[in-house]
């Protein structure tokens, strides 16, 4: 255990020790924000420039900048307003900042890819959701230690504490592991802050992708932004159906449980709901839609009434329901992420990630009254233009979804989809991650697209969006962006690049050419023959015996293995829930590499090595 902690700290220090990249030519990309208790400062986390930006909301100007760790994602303000805490998702740390001087004070360890953060000021504890770890770090501020981990949902990402500090709630962006082709299951993890244990897990049935959540000041009402993927039915007739239900989960004593309510309207979808805020007087709530670039204003009295109504359980699939409680939808900037209210609730701040700006909304009038630029290059690069396209839902019929609805934060969604071009029930495919895929053509599991413009162009228009596709310069920009999506840091390699003894043994298994009895292994059954090169793929199609009767061809694109550890489930149709199952369940005849002569120890070693790729 000590080794693990030390290695983690060394890893974090090494990442922190990296030279701070030149931020002048980078886009700030505000991701999260928080308001000081006196309302005089707005603290904005900029994942693109690795900094916390302090904003004077009255002057509508930047008041200061603090360099933090890599790719910061979340910020929390201490109840007394003297300290700020920023999660550094690529450094696996939290930066503690003096709010007055805007100086970084210390760096605290967290788990794998810390994202959302909340503070229990009474007990001096930070709650940090670790996306890759799928857990919550309880960081003790006195000792500075990541003292306890509590298991949360897969892709744990956002945290909110009740005003009295007694409860902390955590959401997660990937559905929890479950049976193949079953409805996605998610949860809101409720932590008892006094006892520092998980008190309950509020089940979110048919939900995959839960984002920010907010609680009313009296603690009786909570709202979480979420999506309801309809991935078990063919993604056909988008114009007739509903590919992703953009919705909220309403919970707490006011509603007596958890009720899912839609935000979509017929022919006007509210794509990728992300940020949530509840007015201090509990009259209204606000939800941002990061795909359709707007903020919805909800009437809480009507919302609670709908949630308590006898038909509440059926409302999640009722496209007319939102008319009961959505008062207005206000256009804001591109890709609005977190939102936060001023202490009195009169002003709403919206972090428009792809505009590098904060929208200021007068909540009484429901209008945008101003904006604060966070800087960044004036000119847009092709990649940035492509990123805007990637996150926009305006190309799909009815604004239903964009690339980012399934490739959450440019990753994946942990789901398997039945894509229409293949026919109904044919070629079920697992959603693949997009990190560093530029050098891995062809694309699609059947290798049907030789390059990214083909993958992202006419195919997307015809089979996904059903409306408007990406063409010409847009298509080039989009492909450019997708190719630029970087590889996240691998948490399983030792800081010095060495392999652990188990990983070393696993590497030997990966590279072996003979079975344990000395028999030569045919080339195509040696791991490193197909999984070769810098991305661990030979860019070919291969039949590894995992095809299903419903697949048109048993030949599968050899997937890249870089960061494969993050992207469960596995195989082309996602039928292997874990790396182990690839061989323990789906390789009975040694077609997917020779593995049946391995002991359990050796298979574990192989998996430990694969985690390092």
């Amino acid at each position: 255990m000590r080794f693990g902690i030390v290695a983690g700290m060394v890893f974090a220090l090494l990442l922190l020790g990296q030279p701070v990249p030149d931020v002048k030519n980078r886009y700030p990309s505000p991701d999260d924000l928080a308001v000081s208790p006196d309302g005089k400062r707005l603290f904005v986390v900029c994942s693109g420039t690795d900094e916390l930006v302090a904003v004077d909301p009255l002057a509508k100007s930047v008041a200061g900048r603090v360099p933090v760790g890599r790719v910061p994602r979340g910020v929390a303000v201490s109840p007394d307003g003297t300290r700020l805490y920023v999660t550094n998702s690529w450094s696996d740390t939290v930066t503690e900042i003096d709010a007055g001087s805007l100086k970084a004070i210390r760096t605290l360890p967290a788990g794998f890819e810390p994202t959302g953060i909340a503070m229990d000021g009474r007990r001096g504890t930070l709650y940090v959701a670790n996306r890759i770890g799928g857990d919550v770090s309880l960081i003790d501020l006195e000792s500075g230690q990541d003292a306890r981990r509590l298991p949360a949902g897969r892709g744990a990402s956002y945290v909110s504490a009740s005003a009295d500090g007694s409860r902390v709630f955590v959401t997660h962006i990937y559905p929890n592991p479950g049976k193949w082709r079953a409805e996605p299951e998610s949860e809101i993890t409720e932590v008892d802050a006094e006892h520092r244990i998980v008190a309950s897990r509020m089940r979110l049935h048919n939900v995959g992708g839960v984002f920010h959540l907010a609680l009313s000041r009296d603690g009786r009402l909570g709202i979480a932004a979420q999506m309801r993927p309809k991935n078990l039915v063919p993604l056909a007739h988008v114009e007739h159906g509903w590919a992703l239900g953009n919705s909220i989960a309403v919970f707490g004593d006011d509603v007596g449980g958890v009720v899912q309510l839609p935000l979509d309207e017929i022919e006007s979808y509210f794509s990728l709901p992300f940020g949530v805020a509840i007015a201090p007087d509990k009259s209204k709530a606000y939800v941002s839609a990061s795909g359709t670039d707007e903020v919805a204003i909800l009437d809480l009295r009507r919302l609670v009434a709908a949630a308590r109504s006898p038909e509440a359980a059926g409302l999640a699939n009722d496209l007319s329901a939102s008319a009961k409680y959505v008062l207005a939808r206000i256009p804001v900037g591109r890709n609005p992420r977190s939102i936060a209210l001023s202490p009195g609730g009169g002003t709403l701040y919206v972090a428009n990630r792809l505009d590098d700006a904060i929208s200021i909304v007068d909540t009484a009038r429901g209008v945008v009254t101003g904006s604060v630029s966070l800087g960044g290059p004036a000119a847009l690069t092709a990649e940035r233009r492509g990123e805007r396209l990637f996150y926009s839902s305006k190309y799909a019929w009815g604004n239903q979804f964009g690339c980012a609805n399934c490739h959450l934060d440019s990753t994946f969604d942990g789901l398997q989809w039945d894509l229409e071009p293949d026919g109904f029930g044919i070629d079920i495919v697992d959603n693949r991650q997009l990190e560093d895929i530029g050098g891995t053509p062809p694309y699609k599991w059947n290798g049907g697209n030789p390059d990214l413009p083909t993958e992202c162009g006419p195919r997307t228009e015809r089979y996904f969006f059903r409306s408007q596709g990406f063409r010409g310069g847009d298509l080039e920009d989009l492909a450019q962006y997708v190719m630029s999506i970087p590889l996240r840091p691998n948490r399983y390699r030792l800081p010095n690049g060495d392999l652990t003894p188990a990983q070393e043994r696993g590497k030997d298994v990966f590279e072996r050419t003979r079975k344990k009895d000395g028999t030569p292994i045919p080339d195509m059954l040696q791991c490193f023959v197909c999984h070769s090169g810098p991305y661990y793929t030979n860019l070919q199609l291969t039949d590894v015996g995992t095809g299903k009767p419903t697949d048109r061809s048993p030949k599968i694109d050899v997937p890249q293995l870089t960061n494969v550890v993050y992207s469960a489930p596995y195989l082309h149709d996602g039928s292997a829930r874990t790396l182990e199952e690839i061989w323990t369940v789906f390789n009975p005849n040694d077609q997917h590499g020779v593995s049946n002569d391995l002991t359990k120890d050796e298979l574990n070693d192989l998996i430990e090595y694969l985690k390092t790729l």
């Binding site: 255990m1 981990r149 409720e190 948490r491 188990a502 002991t599 574990n604």
Partner: protein, 355 residues
């Protein structure tokens, strides 16, 4: 009146018996909602009592049982052992079909197919910090809950010559495995080295060298507190203080049987034994046995003094069955897993006339 009678009886039977804990036993069976009367394990978490049975996991709370089965996500119906992570209050349930974690209503299951655990037949688990140590029919396994890494311990990397690990206990400095047929395996947390303890007589059932080592190779349970190791075997019990061994047999101690399913020490001295002939307690000098009498089936409490004299303490209640699998503590009370039900021993305080 009853109090006076009890005092008289105790006086007649030896005052020493008064000091041994006495209980009023409440027994629970399928009639009260247990999913099965064969209760392999019991685990107390505050006011909640968990029981691993042959047909599911049961939670006793506020006077009612709630049952969890594979339909709820439990790895297998036969829940052999239930372990509490005292930090998170998550449960680790060892079953005949894998290891399950129960956390606030959610089961996560680890099997030999979907994870790195050595084998699906899981007998026990013990939590030490962020590590979960697991005893399986194919050796020991350790899960690092922060990284997800599994480490396996078997004949290839430890002195274990028999891989059937039956029980594990982890404390801050040591981890002990009871290896069924292979003695005891010790892991030093600081040095990360393994050491084995074996019966100096080999696997024979004859004790040639009493107190010179482990009593027998067929070990079933280990308990380690205050740097004192207790070992249960099918042929007696052993106590090891790091220098000396002391062994206990039914013929020369108050153990009701040499066939032990579990040992659980409170402080290294005061220790409980689950045997096939009743539940036994040792306070360092004296022994007590709680059971339905072997001949009549009537409630029985026997106390054996340091001088070897055995006294019957009159009681009205007894655990549900002689065949006991394990115990756990709830304050002064005790819960017992038996072959025919779950038993709650409510301690009778001094001056209380209850029997």
């Amino acid at each position: 009146m009853r109090h006076a009678m009890l005092a008289t009886l105790l006086a007649a039977s030896g005052l020493f018996a008064q000091d041994m804990p006495r209980y009023r036993w409440e027994n629970f069976t399928t009639a009260q909602g247990l999913p099965d009367n064969r209760v392999y394990s019991v685990c107390v978490d505050g006011d909640r009592v968990w029981a691993g049975t042959d047909n599911g996991l049961a939670l006793y709370e506020k006077g009612k049982f709630k049952v969890f089965t594979p339909a709820d996500g439990l790895a297998h119906r036969a829940a052999l052992s239930v372990t509490l992570d005292k930090r998170t209050h998550d449960l680790w349930i060892s079953t005949m079909g894998g290891l399950s974690r129960y956390s606030a209503g959610r089961f996560d299951t680890f099997t030999q197919l979907n994870s790195g655990v050595a084998n699906d037949v899981v007998y026990g688990a013990s939590v030490l910090g962020d590590f979960v140590w697991v005893a399986t029919a194919a050796g020991g396994s350790r899960l690092n809950t922060r990284t997800g890494e599994w480490s396996l311990y078997n004949e290839r990397n430890t002195p274990m010559y028999e891989i059937w690990t039956y029980n594990v206990t982890a404390a801050e400095d040591k981890v002990y495995y009871a290896v069924w047929g292979g003695g005891v395996l010790e892991y030093d947390v600081k040095t990360e080295r393994w050491k084995d303890y074996n019966d100096p007589d080999g696997e024979t059932e004859i004790v040639l060298h009493k107190d010179e080592g482990l009593i027998h190779e067929i070990t079933t349970s280990v308990s380690y507190v205050n740097k004192i190791l207790w070992v249960a075997t099918y042929f007696g019990a052993s106590r090891y203080d790091g220098r000396n061994w002391r062994n206990f047999l039914d013929k020369d101690s108050g153990l009701p049987s040499n066939f032990l399913n579990q040992v659980k020490t409170i402080d290294g001295t005061r220790t409980w034994f689950s045997t096939d002939k009743g539940l036994a307690y040792f306070d360092g000098e004296r022994w007590a046995t709680y059971r339905p009498a072997l001949d009549t089936g009537k409630p029985e409490m026997l106390v054996r003094g340091a001088d070897g004299e055995v006294t019957h303490v009159p009681v009205d209640t007894a655990p549900a069955h002689n065949y006991t699998f394990g115990i756990d503590f709830q304050g002064d009370d005790i819960w017992v897993a038996t072959a025919k039900g779950l038993s709650h021993g409510i301690q009778i305080k001094t001056g209380d006339s209850s029997k």
